[in-house]
């Protein structure tokens, strides 16, 4: 604790704070721009930080990660084009709110949820990094496999109007995720002889096409209607449309608490990532709600659930990195290089060898949370003007950014083709009312599930009896069975009363999945 006070003394000077602030602002803008994301931002900025002191450099890089996780909500809410895949659930309710003239309210809720999730998760990191990381190591591939299997059941809750269509979209997501080199025999699956597909379809160009470009295409088709609507509603006139009311705070605080918890746990577990966190939180909130059918029409809780979890993942994914030296996420893997360059080797020894530097980094992270609130609050007034601009001006700009974003990660035109391919799929998914959210869940979870299942087979020595040594896995498998049975009986809130026919039909199919 006294270390942390010294840390604050080191950080709270303009020379350091300015870099943290620059990082957060840069991240926020990158996150808000569809197509550009935190991984790209941090990777591009690492060489720039060579010239900074270690605290300023690390504070800036972590600031970028934090800022972009929050910023991605802005475009999700205003344009229905999530800045990053993990903000896709934010758009589900955020965009309807914006169209109802409550953009500012949704933006504020998103920001507050982000900051709370981020701050609490940072505190968890500081207080519990060492003890928690030991437990995280107990979660091996067998447990991960069971947890992922359970996560797939959330497809049931996020399917939109039709469970069948949700399952089809989810299965399509899994299908596309299987493309590429197979992990055990190294056979190329469905790569069509293209070298670029050996590593599989990259998430970023796929998500940009599916989420952002497809949405722009749909909106371009409705441009007249949306513009006239926009002219009519623009920004909510009354104050209650612009601020978060006390009653909404009361409803959202438990949601944010749950989102933060889910996000923190998902962050600690290796290989899951922010998208899984925000989807799980959104799904759980919808399931727990008394009025699940209203989700997707502009429930402020939906925004709070997704954003709190999205941001909580970032600091907690640093827990395995700090405590054990294991990068638990893409962002942590990129940061590990930066940490080592700046003389801080992540791992348990770091606390003994460099206590002061660690305390400085912690203090910088907490400062970044607060700066995020300030930057976000100021930035939103500017960003919210976007909704007043006619779509015919916005669409070309967004398309340009999307193309740049798809290109940047691989410096390859092929990624742009991938983006366009998924634009077509995303366009028809929207037109035919297939859920792209369940597609994304299938795509993100599919490969991890396959790999961890193959790993589990080897680790269990091909003998199901050995599963008894993994009680956590057993619990999650039982939970999965229970939820599938529950969905199968047609009590799934998302499916609602009118689709009992379709849910009865799925009863036969779902169990074979598990």
């Amino acid at each position: 604790m006294s270390d942390l006070l010294i840390g604050f003394q080191d950080v709270l000077n303009p020379a350091t704070l300015i870099w943290v602030a620059i990082g957060v602002t840069l991240g926020y803008v990158l996150g808000a721009l569809p197509g550009l994301g935190k991984a790209t931002g941090v990777a591009v900025c690492i060489p720039l930080t060579f010239y900074l002191g270690p605290v300023a450099a690390l504070g800036m890089l972590i600031g970028i990660a934090k800022g972009s996780a929050a910023g991605s909500a802005v475009s999700a809410i205003l344009l229905n084009t999530p800045g990053e895949p993990s903000s896709a659930p934010t758009a589900l309710d955020g965009y309807p709110l914006a169209r109802q003239g409550k953009a500012q309210k949704a933006l504020k809720m998103g920001l507050f949820a982000s900051v709370i999730g981020d701050f609490v998760s940072t505190v968890i990191l500081i207080a519990l990094a060492a003890p928690l990381a030991r437990y995280a190591l107990l979660i091996g591939p067998v447990e991960i496999c069971a947890i992922l299997l359970f996560s797939l059941t959330f497809i049931g809750g996020l399917s939109g109007n039709s469970l069948i269509k949700g399952l089809i979209a989810g299965a399509m997501g899994v299908f596309f995720s299987t493309i590429g080199l197979e992990a055990e025999t190294f056979v190329s699956r469905m790569t069509l002889g293209l070298l670029e597909l050996e590593d599989g379809i990259a998430l970023v160009p796929m998500a940009i096409g599916m989420l952002a470009v497809a949405e722009m295409a749909v909106q371009a088709g409705n441009v007249k209607v949306l513009d006239s609507e926009g002219a009519r509603i623009t920004d909510g006139a009354s104050r209650s449309d612009r601020v978060v009311l006390a009653s909404e705070w009361r409803r959202c605080l438990p949601v944010i608490a749950r989102g933060t918890l889910i996000g923190s746990v998902v962050g600690i577990l290796p290989g899951l990532g922010a998208s899984v966190g925000s989807f799980l939180s959104y799904g759980a909130t919808k399931k727990a709600s008394k009025t699940p059918e209203k989700y997707g029409t502009g429930m402020i809780e939906g925004v709070a659930a997704a954003e709190s979890a999205d941001n909580a993942v970032v600091p907690s994914s640093l827990i395995p990195l700090f405590a054990l030296g294991i990068p638990g996420s893409v962002i942590a893997a990129i940061l590990i290089a930066a940490f080592i360059l700046h003389g801080l080797t992540p791992g348990p020894l770091m606390f003994q060898q460099q206590p002061r530097l660690v305390a400085d980094v912690y203090a910088a992270m907490l400062c970044a949370s607060v700066i995020l609130l300030i930057v976000g609050y100021t930035g939103q007034r500017l960003f919210a003007q976007v909704i007043k601009a006619p779509l015919r001006l916005i669409i070309p700009g967004v398309l340009l950014l999307c193309t740049v974003g798809a290109y940047m990660e691989t410096s390859s035109v092929f990624s742009i083709y991938v983006m366009l391919f998924f634009t077509v799929i995303g366009f028809f998914a929207r037109k035919l009312d297939f859920s792209f959210v369940t597609f994304l869940i299938g795509f993100v979870i599919g490969p991890n599930l396959e790999l961890s299942f193959r790993q589990s087979l080897q680790l269990l020595d091909h003998n199901a009896v050995n599963l008894a040594k993994h009680p956590i896995a057993v619990v999650f498998i039982l939970l999965t069975v229970a939820v599938v049975w529950w969905i199968g009986r047609g009590k799934n809130p998302a499916a609602g009363g009118q689709v009992t026919r379709s849910s009865r039909a799925t009863e036969k199919h779902v169990p074979t999945n598990s």
Binding site: P141, A337, G347, Q455, D461
Partner: protein, 321 residues
């Protein structure tokens, strides 16, 4: 305040055109380099090879007096970037900084890759990968021989593998000694570390990053022909009687037909990294030994390792011809 006139614009366009022609590097090797050089890296930004590449680019840019732009072009373990290089103009202004494994082992592993050492030119090698087998500190074995004895007593133990080569090593050792080992597929180096630290596997193939964890992990065998700088007491797999050592080094790879004077010029600039303090800082932080090889030695190294790896893969039954 400039006044924009039609003639002025035309003049500017003409000047710009002339400028581009001037940068056309008309193939004069004598005054090379006259413009910025593009350095492709076949892995994503932020990884180990990328860090070494950026540090190398910095040193070489200083030596050559022109900027070197690092461009990450990940895909298929560098095979995508290598394909780009094979097609690039052989003028010395586009090069690939990558592990030579993309040429000396990828062709035997990936169906769609069929590079040969003669398909490229080389301007030197700078660092070596400390590929090895790693295990937890408290495991009772310290060499492959001891591991084999242990694995015989513990059938059904697990080994972490993240590449076809990784599988090849354990399959060969298991075949020769009649071991029953489960091979757990892993996707990345960090996942490998996870599996080791979490005691999921008893032994794992490592590209060298296990040296970051000196308090928890140890090296059981060096899978190279040389002993590792970071663990000079650990015998190589060849010393233990398995002729399977496969070396890989970061190499400057250029398009076929690049003139020899340009290669020499680049290799000269690369040599400066060998003694550069900043470069040393980056590589030592990541436990990467500097082993500089000049132009001629690089060609020999490429040919030798290609032939050797081919033999190993053939004996293991991974390739037929």
């Amino acid at each position: 305040m400039y006044e924009i006139t039609k003639r002025g614009l035309l003049g500017m366009a003409a000047a710009a055109l002339l400028g581009t022609v001037g940068f056309g590097h008309a193939g004069m090797a004598a005054d090379y380099p006259t413009g910025p050089i593009t350095m492709l890296v076949g892995y994503g930004a932020g990884g180990q090879t990328d860090l070494v590449a950026r540090a190398t680019a910095k040193v070489m840019a200083g030596e050559l007096g022109v900027p070197i732009n690092v461009v990450n072009k990940p895909g298929a373990g560098g095979a995508v970037a290598a394909r780009d290089i094979a097609k690039a103009k052989p003028d010395g202004y586009t090069m690939l900084f990558h592990s030579n494994s993309v040429i000396n082992s990828a062709p035997f592993i990936m169906e769609q890759v069929d590079y040969k050492p003669e398909d490229f030119e080389y301007a030197g090698m700078i660092t070596a990968y400390q590929v090895g087998m790693a295990s937890q500190k408290d495991q009772p074995f310290n060499t492959i021989a001891e591991y084999v004895a242990w694995a015989k007593k513990n059938p059904g133990s697990s080994y972490g593998a993240l590449s076809p080569e990784a599988r090849l090593y354990i399959t060969e050792i298991a075949k020769q000694n009649g071991l029953d080992v489960n091979i757990v597929p892993l996707k990345s180096g960090s996942e490998m570390i996870n599996a080791l630290l979490g005691n999921q596997v008893a032994l794992a193939f490592s590209g060298g990053i296990h040296y970051r964890y000196p308090d928890e992990l140890k090296t059981v065998s060096a899978l190279t022909t040389f002993r590792h700088t970071s663990a000079p007491d650990v015998p190589t797999i060849e010393e233990e009687g398995y002729p399977l050592g496969m070396d890989s080094r970061t190499t400057l790879i250029l398009p076929k037909g690049t003139p020899r004077p340009i290669l020499d010029r680049l290799a000269g600039a690369l040599k400066a990294a060998e003694t550069d303090a900043d470069f040393e800082k980056v590589t030592s932080a990541a436990n990467i030994p500097i082993k500089y090889l000049g132009v001629d030695e690089s060609y020999t190294e490429m040919r030798d390792t290609y032939a050797k790896n081919k033999g190993i893969m053939k004996r293991a039954g991974l390739i037929s011809d």
